[in-house]
Amino acid sequence: MTLFLQQIVDGLSSGALYAATALSLVLVYRASGFLNFAQAEMATFGTFVVWQLWIWGVPLWAAVSLSLVLSFFGGALMERTLIRPLTRSASHLTLIIVTLGVMLILLNGAGWIFDFGVKEFPSVLGGPVVELGPAVISRQSLVVICTVFLLAAALWVLFQHTRIGLVMRAAVDNPESADLMGLPTGTVLTISWGLAAAIGTLMGVLVAPQVFLAPGMLLPTLIYSFTAAILGGLDSPQGAIVGGFIVGISENLAGSYLPGIGADFKQAVALAIIMAVLLFKSEGLFGTKGVIRV
Protein backbone atom coordinates (compact mmCIF):
# COMPACT_ATOMS: atom_id res chain seq x y z
CA MET A 1 0.00 0.00 0.00
CA THR A 2 2.82 2.36 0.88
CA LEU A 3 4.55 1.50 -2.36
CA PHE A 4 1.31 2.03 -4.23
CA LEU A 5 0.77 5.46 -2.66
CA GLN A 6 4.37 6.39 -3.31
CA GLN A 7 3.94 5.40 -6.96
CA ILE A 8 0.89 7.65 -7.20
CA VAL A 9 2.78 10.57 -5.67
CA ASP A 10 5.76 10.00 -7.95
CA GLY A 11 3.35 9.73 -10.85
CA LEU A 12 1.89 13.09 -9.92
CA SER A 13 5.30 14.75 -9.91
CA SER A 14 6.35 13.37 -13.27
CA GLY A 15 2.82 13.87 -14.55
CA ALA A 16 3.07 17.57 -13.73
CA LEU A 17 6.03 17.91 -16.08
CA TYR A 18 4.26 15.99 -18.85
CA ALA A 19 1.17 18.12 -18.28
CA ALA A 20 3.09 21.37 -18.62
CA THR A 21 4.89 20.28 -21.77
CA ALA A 22 1.61 18.97 -23.15
CA LEU A 23 0.11 22.35 -22.38
CA SER A 24 2.77 24.02 -24.51
CA LEU A 25 2.16 21.52 -27.29
CA VAL A 26 -1.59 22.16 -27.13
CA LEU A 27 -1.17 25.94 -27.24
CA VAL A 28 0.86 25.61 -30.41
CA TYR A 29 -1.50 23.03 -31.84
CA ARG A 30 -4.48 25.29 -31.29
CA ALA A 31 -2.68 28.14 -32.99
CA SER A 32 -0.97 26.45 -35.92
CA GLY A 33 -2.57 23.02 -36.23
CA PHE A 34 0.51 20.89 -35.72
CA LEU A 35 2.82 19.73 -32.98
CA ASN A 36 6.10 21.46 -32.31
CA PHE A 37 8.65 18.67 -32.03
CA ALA A 38 11.19 21.20 -30.78
CA GLN A 39 9.13 22.12 -27.70
CA ALA A 40 11.22 20.20 -25.16
CA GLU A 41 14.51 21.46 -26.57
CA MET A 42 13.26 25.04 -26.50
CA ALA A 43 12.50 24.58 -22.81
CA THR A 44 15.94 23.15 -22.14
CA PHE A 45 17.61 26.01 -23.98
CA GLY A 46 15.64 28.55 -21.95
CA THR A 47 16.75 26.76 -18.79
CA PHE A 48 20.37 27.01 -19.91
CA VAL A 49 19.94 30.74 -20.28
CA VAL A 50 18.76 30.91 -16.67
CA TRP A 51 21.72 28.82 -15.55
CA GLN A 52 24.20 31.02 -17.40
CA LEU A 53 22.75 34.19 -15.88
CA TRP A 54 22.77 32.59 -12.45
CA ILE A 55 26.43 31.57 -12.88
CA TRP A 56 27.18 35.16 -13.80
CA GLY A 57 25.76 36.21 -10.45
CA VAL A 58 22.27 37.33 -11.45
CA PRO A 59 19.76 36.45 -8.69
CA LEU A 60 17.72 33.38 -9.59
CA TRP A 61 14.36 35.14 -9.73
CA ALA A 62 15.75 37.83 -12.05
CA ALA A 63 17.44 35.24 -14.24
CA VAL A 64 14.21 33.27 -14.53
CA SER A 65 12.16 36.36 -15.34
CA LEU A 66 14.59 37.50 -17.99
CA SER A 67 14.75 34.05 -19.55
CA LEU A 68 10.95 33.79 -19.59
CA VAL A 69 10.77 37.04 -21.53
CA LEU A 70 13.50 35.90 -23.91
CA SER A 71 11.77 32.54 -24.38
CA PHE A 72 8.52 34.30 -25.19
CA PHE A 73 10.22 36.33 -27.90
CA GLY A 74 12.17 33.30 -29.11
CA GLY A 75 8.98 31.30 -29.57
CA ALA A 76 7.28 34.26 -31.21
CA LEU A 77 10.22 34.76 -33.54
CA MET A 78 10.19 31.10 -34.55
CA GLU A 79 6.51 31.35 -35.42
CA ARG A 80 6.99 34.48 -37.48
CA THR A 81 10.09 33.43 -39.40
CA LEU A 82 9.93 29.67 -39.83
CA ILE A 83 6.36 28.56 -39.29
CA ARG A 84 4.10 31.33 -40.62
CA PRO A 85 5.54 31.31 -44.13
CA LEU A 86 4.86 27.57 -44.32
CA THR A 87 1.53 27.06 -42.52
CA ARG A 88 -0.70 28.20 -45.35
CA SER A 89 0.84 26.20 -48.14
CA ALA A 90 2.89 23.38 -46.74
CA SER A 91 2.03 19.88 -45.64
CA HIS A 92 2.44 18.41 -42.18
CA LEU A 93 5.56 16.69 -43.39
CA THR A 94 7.25 20.02 -44.09
CA LEU A 95 6.33 21.53 -40.74
CA ILE A 96 7.36 18.44 -38.80
CA ILE A 97 10.71 18.43 -40.54
CA VAL A 98 11.26 22.12 -39.80
CA THR A 99 10.57 21.64 -36.10
CA LEU A 100 12.82 18.57 -36.03
CA GLY A 101 15.50 20.75 -37.61
CA VAL A 102 15.01 23.42 -34.96
CA MET A 103 15.21 20.72 -32.30
CA LEU A 104 18.59 19.57 -33.62
CA ILE A 105 19.87 23.13 -33.82
CA LEU A 106 18.84 23.91 -30.24
CA LEU A 107 20.05 20.59 -28.84
CA ASN A 108 23.47 20.90 -30.40
CA GLY A 109 23.57 24.66 -30.03
CA ALA A 110 23.16 24.19 -26.28
CA GLY A 111 25.86 21.54 -26.38
CA TRP A 112 28.18 23.89 -28.25
CA ILE A 113 27.64 26.91 -26.01
CA PHE A 114 27.28 25.20 -22.64
CA ASP A 115 28.92 21.82 -23.45
CA PHE A 116 27.24 18.48 -22.93
CA GLY A 117 28.31 17.97 -19.32
CA VAL A 118 25.65 17.77 -16.64
CA LYS A 119 25.14 21.01 -14.71
CA GLU A 120 23.90 21.44 -11.21
CA PHE A 121 20.91 23.69 -11.04
CA PRO A 122 19.64 25.60 -7.99
CA SER A 123 16.37 24.47 -6.42
CA VAL A 124 13.68 27.01 -5.90
CA LEU A 125 12.69 25.32 -2.68
CA GLY A 126 15.13 23.07 -0.84
CA GLY A 127 14.75 21.33 2.47
CA PRO A 128 13.59 17.95 3.70
CA VAL A 129 10.91 15.91 1.96
CA VAL A 130 7.28 16.40 2.86
CA GLU A 131 5.40 13.42 4.28
CA LEU A 132 2.01 12.70 2.81
CA GLY A 133 0.78 9.88 5.02
CA PRO A 134 3.10 6.97 4.34
CA ALA A 135 4.39 8.49 1.09
CA VAL A 136 6.96 11.26 0.69
CA ILE A 137 7.42 14.00 -1.84
CA SER A 138 10.24 16.47 -2.32
CA ARG A 139 9.53 20.15 -1.82
CA GLN A 140 10.65 20.89 -5.36
CA SER A 141 8.13 18.36 -6.70
CA LEU A 142 5.39 20.06 -4.75
CA VAL A 143 6.41 23.36 -6.34
CA VAL A 144 6.25 21.72 -9.77
CA ILE A 145 2.77 20.34 -9.17
CA CYS A 146 1.47 23.62 -7.75
CA THR A 147 2.97 25.55 -10.65
CA VAL A 148 1.12 23.39 -13.14
CA PHE A 149 -2.17 24.12 -11.43
CA LEU A 150 -1.34 27.82 -11.26
CA LEU A 151 -0.48 27.77 -14.95
CA ALA A 152 -3.75 26.06 -15.73
CA ALA A 153 -5.63 28.67 -13.71
CA ALA A 154 -3.74 31.53 -15.35
CA LEU A 155 -4.48 30.17 -18.82
CA TRP A 156 -8.11 29.74 -17.89
CA VAL A 157 -8.28 33.39 -16.88
CA LEU A 158 -6.46 34.38 -20.04
CA PHE A 159 -8.82 32.46 -22.30
CA GLN A 160 -12.07 33.15 -20.47
CA HIS A 161 -11.64 36.63 -19.09
CA THR A 162 -9.40 38.70 -21.32
CA ARG A 163 -10.03 40.32 -24.66
CA ILE A 164 -7.00 38.78 -26.30
CA GLY A 165 -7.93 35.35 -24.87
CA LEU A 166 -11.35 35.68 -26.44
CA VAL A 167 -9.73 36.45 -29.77
CA MET A 168 -7.44 33.44 -29.33
CA ARG A 169 -10.44 31.17 -28.85
CA ALA A 170 -12.26 32.72 -31.79
CA ALA A 171 -9.22 32.29 -34.04
CA VAL A 172 -8.98 28.62 -33.10
CA ASP A 173 -12.70 28.07 -33.59
CA ASN A 174 -12.96 29.57 -37.05
CA PRO A 175 -9.80 31.17 -38.42
CA GLU A 176 -11.46 32.37 -41.61
CA SER A 177 -14.29 34.15 -39.80
CA ALA A 178 -11.83 35.70 -37.40
CA ASP A 179 -9.77 37.00 -40.33
CA LEU A 180 -12.88 38.27 -42.05
CA MET A 181 -13.80 40.24 -38.96
CA GLY A 182 -10.41 41.90 -38.87
CA LEU A 183 -9.42 40.23 -35.61
CA PRO A 184 -5.65 40.20 -35.03
CA THR A 185 -5.31 36.50 -35.83
CA GLY A 186 -1.64 36.76 -36.74
CA THR A 187 -0.83 38.36 -33.42
CA VAL A 188 -2.60 35.69 -31.40
CA LEU A 189 -0.71 32.96 -33.29
CA THR A 190 2.54 34.61 -32.32
CA ILE A 191 1.40 35.07 -28.73
CA SER A 192 0.48 31.37 -28.50
CA TRP A 193 3.94 30.34 -29.62
CA GLY A 194 5.53 32.80 -27.23
CA LEU A 195 3.43 31.57 -24.31
CA ALA A 196 4.19 27.95 -25.14
CA ALA A 197 7.90 28.70 -25.14
CA ALA A 198 7.73 30.61 -21.85
CA ILE A 199 5.76 27.84 -20.15
CA GLY A 200 8.38 25.39 -21.37
CA THR A 201 11.21 27.40 -19.87
CA LEU A 202 9.40 27.78 -16.56
CA MET A 203 8.95 24.03 -16.27
CA GLY A 204 12.51 23.42 -17.43
CA VAL A 205 13.75 25.61 -14.59
CA LEU A 206 11.61 23.76 -12.06
CA VAL A 207 12.57 20.23 -13.06
CA ALA A 208 16.24 20.93 -13.85
CA PRO A 209 17.35 20.42 -10.20
CA GLN A 210 15.92 16.89 -10.31
CA VAL A 211 16.80 15.69 -13.80
CA PHE A 212 20.06 17.72 -13.90
CA LEU A 213 20.59 20.29 -16.57
CA ALA A 214 22.06 18.98 -19.82
CA PRO A 215 21.23 19.33 -23.50
CA GLY A 216 18.41 16.93 -24.24
CA MET A 217 17.43 16.65 -20.57
CA LEU A 218 13.74 16.64 -21.47
CA LEU A 219 14.04 14.28 -24.46
CA PRO A 220 13.23 11.18 -22.38
CA THR A 221 9.98 12.84 -21.31
CA LEU A 222 9.04 13.94 -24.81
CA ILE A 223 7.12 10.80 -25.67
CA TYR A 224 5.10 11.04 -22.44
CA SER A 225 4.26 14.68 -23.12
CA PHE A 226 3.06 13.84 -26.63
CA THR A 227 1.04 11.00 -25.15
CA ALA A 228 -0.49 13.36 -22.58
CA ALA A 229 -1.42 15.92 -25.24
CA ILE A 230 -3.01 13.28 -27.48
CA LEU A 231 -4.80 11.56 -24.64
CA GLY A 232 -6.25 14.85 -23.39
CA GLY A 233 -7.33 15.88 -26.87
CA LEU A 234 -4.93 17.99 -28.88
CA ASP A 235 -6.86 21.26 -28.66
CA SER A 236 -7.83 21.13 -25.01
CA PRO A 237 -5.66 22.82 -22.34
CA GLN A 238 -7.49 21.13 -19.49
CA GLY A 239 -7.14 17.86 -21.40
CA ALA A 240 -3.38 18.37 -21.47
CA ILE A 241 -3.29 18.73 -17.68
CA VAL A 242 -5.50 15.72 -17.01
CA GLY A 243 -3.68 13.72 -19.70
CA GLY A 244 -0.33 14.59 -18.14
CA PHE A 245 -1.30 13.30 -14.72
CA ILE A 246 -2.93 10.17 -16.11
CA VAL A 247 0.16 9.37 -18.15
CA GLY A 248 2.47 10.11 -15.21
CA ILE A 249 0.58 7.88 -12.83
CA SER A 250 -0.06 5.02 -15.23
CA GLU A 251 3.55 5.06 -16.39
CA ASN A 252 4.73 4.72 -12.79
CA LEU A 253 2.20 2.05 -11.90
CA ALA A 254 2.86 0.07 -15.08
CA GLY A 255 6.58 0.18 -14.37
CA SER A 256 6.11 -1.29 -10.90
CA TYR A 257 3.13 -3.58 -11.17
CA LEU A 258 2.72 -4.84 -14.73
CA PRO A 259 4.83 -7.97 -15.13
CA GLY A 260 7.50 -7.67 -17.76
CA ILE A 261 7.32 -3.88 -18.17
CA GLY A 262 10.05 -2.58 -15.87
CA ALA A 263 11.73 0.79 -15.95
CA ASP A 264 13.08 0.50 -19.50
CA PHE A 265 9.97 -0.75 -21.16
CA LYS A 266 7.61 1.90 -19.76
CA GLN A 267 7.88 3.92 -22.95
CA ALA A 268 6.14 1.14 -24.81
CA VAL A 269 3.09 1.89 -22.68
CA ALA A 270 3.16 5.40 -24.11
CA LEU A 271 3.34 4.05 -27.67
CA ALA A 272 0.37 1.81 -26.94
CA ILE A 273 -1.66 4.72 -25.56
CA ILE A 274 -0.84 6.94 -28.55
CA MET A 275 -1.84 4.26 -31.03
CA ALA A 276 -5.00 3.34 -29.17
CA VAL A 277 -6.18 6.95 -28.82
CA LEU A 278 -5.38 7.90 -32.41
CA LEU A 279 -6.99 4.80 -33.85
CA PHE A 280 -10.09 4.57 -31.70
CA LYS A 281 -10.81 7.97 -30.17
CA SER A 282 -8.73 10.56 -31.94
CA GLU A 283 -10.30 13.51 -30.11
CA GLY A 284 -8.92 12.16 -26.84
CA LEU A 285 -10.67 12.81 -23.55
CA PHE A 286 -11.52 16.49 -23.95
CA GLY A 287 -10.69 17.45 -27.51
CA THR A 288 -12.99 18.53 -30.29
CA LYS A 289 -14.10 15.84 -32.71
CA GLY A 290 -11.94 15.79 -35.80
CA VAL A 291 -9.22 17.79 -34.06
CA ILE A 292 -6.55 15.70 -35.75
CA ARG A 293 -6.95 14.23 -39.21
CA VAL A 294 -6.32 10.54 -38.86
Binding site: G101, V102, N108, I223, F226, G262
Partner: protein, 337 residues
Protein backbone atom coordinates in the same frame (compact mmCIF):
# COMPACT_ATOMS: atom_id res chain seq x y z
CA UNK B 1 11.32 36.26 -54.00
CA UNK B 2 11.63 35.36 -57.65
CA UNK B 3 14.82 33.48 -56.90
CA UNK B 4 13.01 31.58 -54.17
CA UNK B 5 10.24 30.77 -56.61
CA UNK B 6 12.85 29.51 -59.06
CA UNK B 7 14.28 27.20 -56.41
CA UNK B 8 10.83 25.93 -55.53
CA UNK B 9 9.85 25.21 -59.11
CA UNK B 10 9.35 21.56 -59.79
CA UNK B 11 11.88 20.09 -62.16
CA UNK B 12 11.56 16.69 -63.76
CA UNK B 13 14.43 14.24 -63.69
CA UNK B 14 17.21 15.01 -66.12
CA UNK B 15 16.66 13.60 -69.57
CA UNK B 16 20.04 12.55 -70.83
CA UNK B 17 21.05 10.49 -73.81
CA UNK B 18 21.46 6.79 -73.29
CA UNK B 19 25.18 6.72 -73.87
CA UNK B 20 25.87 9.55 -71.47
CA UNK B 21 23.86 7.92 -68.72
CA UNK B 22 25.80 4.69 -69.26
CA UNK B 23 28.99 6.69 -69.20
CA UNK B 24 27.93 8.17 -65.88
CA UNK B 25 27.15 4.72 -64.48
CA UNK B 26 30.51 3.37 -65.62
CA UNK B 27 32.45 6.30 -64.19
CA UNK B 28 30.63 6.16 -60.85
CA UNK B 29 30.89 2.38 -60.56
CA UNK B 30 34.51 2.48 -61.66
CA UNK B 31 35.31 5.00 -58.95
CA UNK B 32 33.37 3.03 -56.35
CA UNK B 33 35.12 -0.23 -57.28
CA UNK B 34 38.59 1.26 -57.36
CA UNK B 35 38.60 3.56 -54.37
CA UNK B 36 38.62 1.02 -51.47
CA UNK B 37 41.83 -0.45 -52.85
CA UNK B 38 43.67 2.78 -52.21
CA UNK B 39 41.89 4.09 -49.12
CA UNK B 40 42.54 3.69 -45.41
CA UNK B 41 40.22 1.28 -43.53
CA UNK B 42 38.39 4.13 -41.82
CA UNK B 43 37.45 5.69 -45.16
CA UNK B 44 36.16 2.34 -46.41
CA UNK B 45 34.09 1.79 -43.31
CA UNK B 46 32.63 5.26 -43.70
CA UNK B 47 31.58 4.47 -47.24
CA UNK B 48 30.17 1.10 -46.17
CA UNK B 49 28.07 3.04 -43.69
CA UNK B 50 26.91 5.38 -46.44
CA UNK B 51 25.70 2.32 -48.35
CA UNK B 52 23.69 1.19 -45.29
CA UNK B 53 22.01 4.54 -44.86
CA UNK B 54 21.38 4.78 -48.58
CA UNK B 55 19.50 1.47 -48.44
CA UNK B 56 17.22 2.90 -45.77
CA UNK B 57 16.91 6.13 -47.74
CA UNK B 58 15.83 4.24 -50.86
CA UNK B 59 13.01 2.53 -48.98
CA UNK B 60 11.95 5.75 -47.26
CA UNK B 61 11.99 7.56 -50.56
CA UNK B 62 9.40 5.15 -51.91
CA UNK B 63 7.34 5.53 -48.74
CA UNK B 64 7.59 9.27 -48.13
CA UNK B 65 8.62 10.74 -51.44
CA UNK B 66 6.44 8.69 -53.75
CA UNK B 67 3.61 7.41 -51.56
CA UNK B 68 3.52 10.49 -49.32
CA UNK B 69 3.49 8.64 -45.99
CA UNK B 70 5.84 9.95 -43.32
CA UNK B 71 7.73 7.61 -41.03
CA UNK B 72 10.05 8.64 -38.25
CA UNK B 73 10.23 5.08 -37.01
CA UNK B 74 12.36 3.25 -39.52
CA UNK B 75 15.22 3.24 -37.06
CA UNK B 76 13.31 0.41 -35.40
CA UNK B 77 13.52 -1.76 -38.51
CA UNK B 78 17.13 -0.77 -39.02
CA UNK B 79 17.82 -1.92 -35.46
CA UNK B 80 15.88 -5.11 -36.14
CA UNK B 81 18.14 -5.94 -39.09
CA UNK B 82 21.29 -5.07 -37.20
CA UNK B 83 20.33 -7.22 -34.21
CA UNK B 84 19.15 -10.11 -36.38
CA UNK B 85 22.56 -10.07 -37.97
CA UNK B 86 24.40 -9.74 -34.68
CA UNK B 87 22.47 -12.54 -32.99
CA UNK B 88 22.19 -15.00 -35.87
CA UNK B 89 25.63 -14.47 -37.35
CA UNK B 90 27.62 -13.26 -34.36
CA UNK B 91 26.16 -15.49 -31.65
CA UNK B 92 24.56 -18.40 -33.50
CA UNK B 93 27.25 -18.70 -36.13
CA UNK B 94 25.07 -18.52 -39.24
CA UNK B 95 26.68 -17.64 -42.57
CA UNK B 96 26.84 -13.84 -42.59
CA UNK B 97 25.10 -13.29 -45.94
CA UNK B 98 22.10 -15.32 -44.77
CA UNK B 99 21.21 -12.38 -42.53
CA UNK B 100 20.25 -10.35 -45.61
CA UNK B 101 17.27 -12.43 -46.78
CA UNK B 102 16.26 -13.17 -43.18
CA UNK B 103 16.24 -9.46 -42.33
CA UNK B 104 14.36 -8.72 -45.53
CA UNK B 105 11.62 -11.23 -44.77
CA UNK B 106 11.32 -10.43 -41.06
CA UNK B 107 11.47 -6.70 -41.74
CA UNK B 108 8.74 -7.00 -44.35
CA UNK B 109 6.56 -9.06 -42.02
CA UNK B 110 6.95 -6.77 -39.00
CA UNK B 111 6.62 -3.70 -41.20
CA UNK B 112 3.38 -5.13 -42.49
CA UNK B 113 2.11 -5.89 -38.98
CA UNK B 114 2.95 -2.39 -37.74
CA UNK B 115 1.92 -0.60 -40.90
CA UNK B 116 -1.44 -2.32 -41.15
CA UNK B 117 -2.99 -0.38 -38.24
CA UNK B 118 -0.60 2.60 -38.32
CA UNK B 119 -1.31 3.52 -41.93
CA UNK B 120 -4.93 4.05 -41.16
CA UNK B 121 -3.49 7.26 -39.76
CA UNK B 122 -2.04 10.01 -41.89
CA UNK B 123 0.05 13.13 -41.67
CA UNK B 124 0.74 14.26 -38.14
CA UNK B 125 -0.90 11.25 -36.48
CA UNK B 126 1.26 8.86 -38.48
CA UNK B 127 4.34 10.92 -37.69
CA UNK B 128 3.57 10.73 -33.98
CA UNK B 129 3.03 7.00 -33.94
CA UNK B 130 6.20 6.31 -35.88
CA UNK B 131 8.15 8.78 -33.74
CA UNK B 132 6.97 6.89 -30.68
CA UNK B 133 8.20 3.69 -32.31
CA UNK B 134 11.63 5.28 -32.77
CA UNK B 135 11.74 6.54 -29.18
CA UNK B 136 10.72 3.14 -27.82
CA UNK B 137 13.27 1.16 -29.80
CA UNK B 138 16.27 1.51 -27.45
CA UNK B 139 14.19 0.53 -24.43
CA UNK B 140 12.78 -2.50 -26.24
CA UNK B 141 16.31 -3.59 -27.06
CA UNK B 142 17.33 -3.19 -23.43
CA UNK B 143 14.23 -5.03 -22.25
CA UNK B 144 15.05 -8.02 -24.45
CA UNK B 145 18.47 -8.31 -22.85
CA UNK B 146 18.34 -12.09 -22.89
CA UNK B 147 18.76 -11.94 -26.64
CA UNK B 148 20.32 -8.53 -27.22
CA UNK B 149 22.70 -8.40 -24.25
CA UNK B 150 20.96 -5.19 -23.18
CA UNK B 151 23.00 -2.07 -22.65
CA UNK B 152 26.33 -3.74 -23.31
CA UNK B 153 25.49 -4.50 -26.91
CA UNK B 154 27.11 -7.17 -29.03
CA UNK B 155 30.63 -6.93 -30.40
CA UNK B 156 31.01 -8.71 -33.71
CA UNK B 157 33.71 -10.13 -35.87
CA UNK B 158 31.83 -11.20 -38.97
CA UNK B 159 31.97 -11.08 -42.76
CA UNK B 160 35.56 -12.33 -43.18
CA UNK B 161 36.72 -12.08 -46.75
CA UNK B 162 36.87 -15.51 -48.41
CA UNK B 163 40.34 -16.99 -48.68
CA UNK B 164 40.52 -16.74 -52.49
CA UNK B 165 40.56 -12.94 -52.51
CA UNK B 166 43.38 -10.98 -51.07
CA UNK B 167 41.33 -8.19 -49.54
CA UNK B 168 41.25 -6.82 -46.04
CA UNK B 169 38.02 -7.14 -44.08
CA UNK B 170 37.10 -3.47 -44.44
CA UNK B 171 37.55 -3.69 -48.21
CA UNK B 172 35.56 -6.89 -48.46
CA UNK B 173 32.68 -5.48 -46.44
CA UNK B 174 32.76 -2.37 -48.58
CA UNK B 175 32.22 -4.50 -51.69
CA UNK B 176 29.51 -6.59 -50.02
CA UNK B 177 27.60 -3.49 -48.94
CA UNK B 178 28.10 -1.86 -52.31
CA UNK B 179 26.69 -4.93 -54.06
CA UNK B 180 23.65 -4.98 -51.79
CA UNK B 181 23.11 -1.26 -52.36
CA UNK B 182 23.36 -1.56 -56.14
CA UNK B 183 20.85 -4.42 -56.05
CA UNK B 184 18.54 -2.36 -53.82
CA UNK B 185 18.93 0.66 -56.06
CA UNK B 186 18.00 -1.28 -59.17
CA UNK B 187 14.95 -2.78 -57.46
CA UNK B 188 13.78 0.61 -56.19
CA UNK B 189 14.38 2.26 -59.55
CA UNK B 190 12.21 -0.46 -61.14
CA UNK B 191 9.50 -0.03 -58.51
CA UNK B 192 9.41 3.74 -58.74
CA UNK B 193 8.75 3.69 -62.46
CA UNK B 194 5.99 1.95 -64.34
CA UNK B 195 2.70 0.80 -62.98
CA UNK B 196 3.72 0.38 -59.34
CA UNK B 197 5.35 3.79 -59.20
CA UNK B 198 2.28 5.41 -60.72
CA UNK B 199 -0.01 3.80 -58.18
CA UNK B 200 2.23 5.05 -55.34
CA UNK B 201 2.16 8.60 -56.71
CA UNK B 202 -1.59 8.28 -57.24
CA UNK B 203 -2.05 7.43 -53.57
CA UNK B 204 0.12 10.37 -52.57
CA UNK B 205 -1.57 12.94 -54.78
CA UNK B 206 -5.20 11.97 -54.37
CA UNK B 207 -6.45 8.79 -52.76
CA UNK B 208 -9.97 9.20 -54.08
CA UNK B 209 -8.84 9.59 -57.65
CA UNK B 210 -6.49 6.66 -57.18
CA UNK B 211 -9.41 4.53 -56.03
CA UNK B 212 -11.40 5.30 -59.16
CA UNK B 213 -8.42 4.00 -61.14
CA UNK B 214 -8.69 0.68 -59.36
CA UNK B 215 -5.84 1.30 -56.90
CA UNK B 216 -6.47 0.31 -53.31
CA UNK B 217 -4.67 2.97 -51.25
CA UNK B 218 -4.60 0.96 -48.01
CA UNK B 219 -3.00 -1.99 -49.77
CA UNK B 220 -0.46 0.13 -51.62
CA UNK B 221 0.50 2.05 -48.47
CA UNK B 222 0.87 -1.04 -46.31
CA UNK B 223 2.94 -2.87 -48.92
CA UNK B 224 5.21 0.08 -49.53
CA UNK B 225 5.62 0.49 -45.77
CA UNK B 226 6.48 -3.19 -45.40
CA UNK B 227 8.90 -2.99 -48.33
CA UNK B 228 10.61 0.09 -46.90
CA UNK B 229 10.84 -1.66 -43.53
CA UNK B 230 12.53 -4.59 -45.28
CA UNK B 231 14.97 -2.19 -46.94
CA UNK B 232 15.69 -0.61 -43.55
CA UNK B 233 16.26 -4.04 -41.99
CA UNK B 234 18.67 -5.00 -44.77
CA UNK B 235 20.34 -1.62 -44.24
CA UNK B 236 20.67 -2.63 -40.59
CA UNK B 237 22.45 -5.85 -41.58
CA UNK B 238 24.96 -3.93 -43.68
CA UNK B 239 25.37 -1.52 -40.74
CA UNK B 240 26.30 -4.44 -38.51
CA UNK B 241 28.85 -5.57 -41.11
CA UNK B 242 30.34 -2.08 -41.31
CA UNK B 243 30.45 -1.18 -37.61
CA UNK B 244 30.91 -4.70 -36.16
CA UNK B 245 29.01 -3.64 -33.08
CA UNK B 246 25.37 -3.18 -32.12
CA UNK B 247 24.17 -1.35 -29.00
CA UNK B 248 20.78 0.06 -28.04
CA UNK B 249 21.68 3.73 -27.90
CA UNK B 250 22.57 3.89 -31.59
CA UNK B 251 18.93 3.33 -32.59
CA UNK B 252 17.05 6.15 -30.90
CA UNK B 253 15.74 9.54 -31.91
CA UNK B 254 19.05 10.63 -33.44
CA UNK B 255 18.91 7.85 -35.97
CA UNK B 256 15.27 8.56 -36.77
CA UNK B 257 16.15 12.16 -37.54
CA UNK B 258 19.23 11.11 -39.48
CA UNK B 259 17.02 9.01 -41.77
CA UNK B 260 14.63 11.88 -42.34
CA UNK B 261 17.65 14.03 -43.12
CA UNK B 262 18.81 11.48 -45.69
CA UNK B 263 15.68 11.77 -47.80
CA UNK B 264 14.98 15.46 -47.20
CA UNK B 265 18.48 16.72 -47.92
CA UNK B 266 18.95 14.30 -50.78
CA UNK B 267 15.65 15.24 -52.30
CA UNK B 268 12.29 13.57 -51.86
CA UNK B 269 11.08 11.48 -54.81
CA UNK B 270 14.52 10.69 -56.17
CA UNK B 271 16.40 7.43 -55.64
CA UNK B 272 19.69 9.10 -56.51
CA UNK B 273 18.78 11.79 -53.99
CA UNK B 274 18.47 9.17 -51.24
CA UNK B 275 22.05 8.12 -51.95
CA UNK B 276 23.27 11.73 -51.97
CA UNK B 277 21.51 12.27 -48.65
CA UNK B 278 23.34 9.29 -47.17
CA UNK B 279 26.63 10.75 -48.36
CA UNK B 280 25.68 14.01 -46.68
CA UNK B 281 24.85 12.61 -43.27
CA UNK B 282 27.97 10.46 -43.08
CA UNK B 283 30.44 13.07 -44.33
CA UNK B 284 28.89 16.09 -42.67
CA UNK B 285 30.24 15.14 -39.22
CA UNK B 286 33.75 14.51 -40.53
CA UNK B 287 33.78 17.88 -42.27
CA UNK B 288 32.57 19.72 -39.20
CA UNK B 289 34.07 17.82 -36.28
CA UNK B 290 37.14 20.03 -36.26
CA UNK B 291 34.93 23.03 -35.54
CA UNK B 292 33.01 21.47 -32.67
CA UNK B 293 31.42 18.15 -31.81
CA UNK B 294 28.02 19.85 -31.93
CA UNK B 295 28.55 21.32 -35.38
CA UNK B 296 27.33 18.21 -37.17
CA UNK B 297 24.00 18.20 -35.36
CA UNK B 298 23.56 21.89 -36.04
CA UNK B 299 24.47 21.22 -39.65
CA UNK B 300 21.75 18.54 -39.92
CA UNK B 301 19.26 20.90 -38.33
CA UNK B 302 20.12 23.84 -40.54
CA UNK B 303 20.03 21.59 -43.60
CA UNK B 304 16.55 20.34 -42.70
CA UNK B 305 15.17 23.83 -42.14
CA UNK B 306 16.83 25.26 -45.24
CA UNK B 307 15.64 22.44 -47.44
CA UNK B 308 12.07 22.99 -46.34
CA UNK B 309 12.18 26.76 -46.67
CA UNK B 310 14.41 27.23 -49.68
CA UNK B 311 15.18 24.02 -51.52
CA UNK B 312 12.34 21.50 -51.23
CA UNK B 313 13.91 19.28 -53.89
CA UNK B 314 17.10 18.90 -51.85
CA UNK B 315 20.53 18.19 -53.33
CA UNK B 316 19.04 16.43 -56.31
CA UNK B 317 17.11 19.64 -56.98
CA UNK B 318 20.42 21.51 -57.11
CA UNK B 319 21.78 18.91 -59.49
CA UNK B 320 18.77 19.44 -61.73
CA UNK B 321 19.03 23.24 -61.60
CA UNK B 322 22.62 22.99 -62.79
CA UNK B 323 22.02 19.98 -65.01
CA UNK B 324 19.05 21.09 -67.11
CA UNK B 325 20.78 23.95 -68.95
CA UNK B 326 23.85 21.76 -69.31
CA UNK B 327 21.86 18.94 -70.86
CA UNK B 328 20.14 21.36 -73.21
CA UNK B 329 23.27 23.08 -74.43
CA UNK B 330 26.04 20.52 -74.55
CA UNK B 331 25.74 18.39 -77.69
CA UNK B 332 25.36 14.60 -77.27
CA UNK B 333 24.32 15.04 -73.63
CA UNK B 334 20.67 15.63 -74.48
CA UNK B 335 18.04 12.93 -74.91
CA UNK B 336 17.95 12.65 -78.73
CA UNK B 337 21.26 10.89 -79.09
Amino acid sequence: MSMLAALHRHRPRLAVSRWSSWLLVIVVLGYLLYTPLVSVPFANTQKSLIFSYALVGLGLNLLTGLTGQISLGHGAFFALGAYLCAVLVGNEGWFYLSAVPVAGVVGFALGYLFGRPALRLQGLALALVTLALALVTPSVIKRLDGITQGREGIILDIAEPPSFVSLDQDQWIYYVNLLILVAGFVVCERLSRGHIGRSMIGVRDNENVAMTLGIRPATVKTRVFAFSAAMAAIGGVTYAYAIQFVGPEAFGLDLAIAFITVIVVGGLTSNAGAVLGAVFIVYMPSWTQEINQSAAGIGYGVALVLCMLVLPAGLIGLVRIVGHPLVRRVPFLGPNR
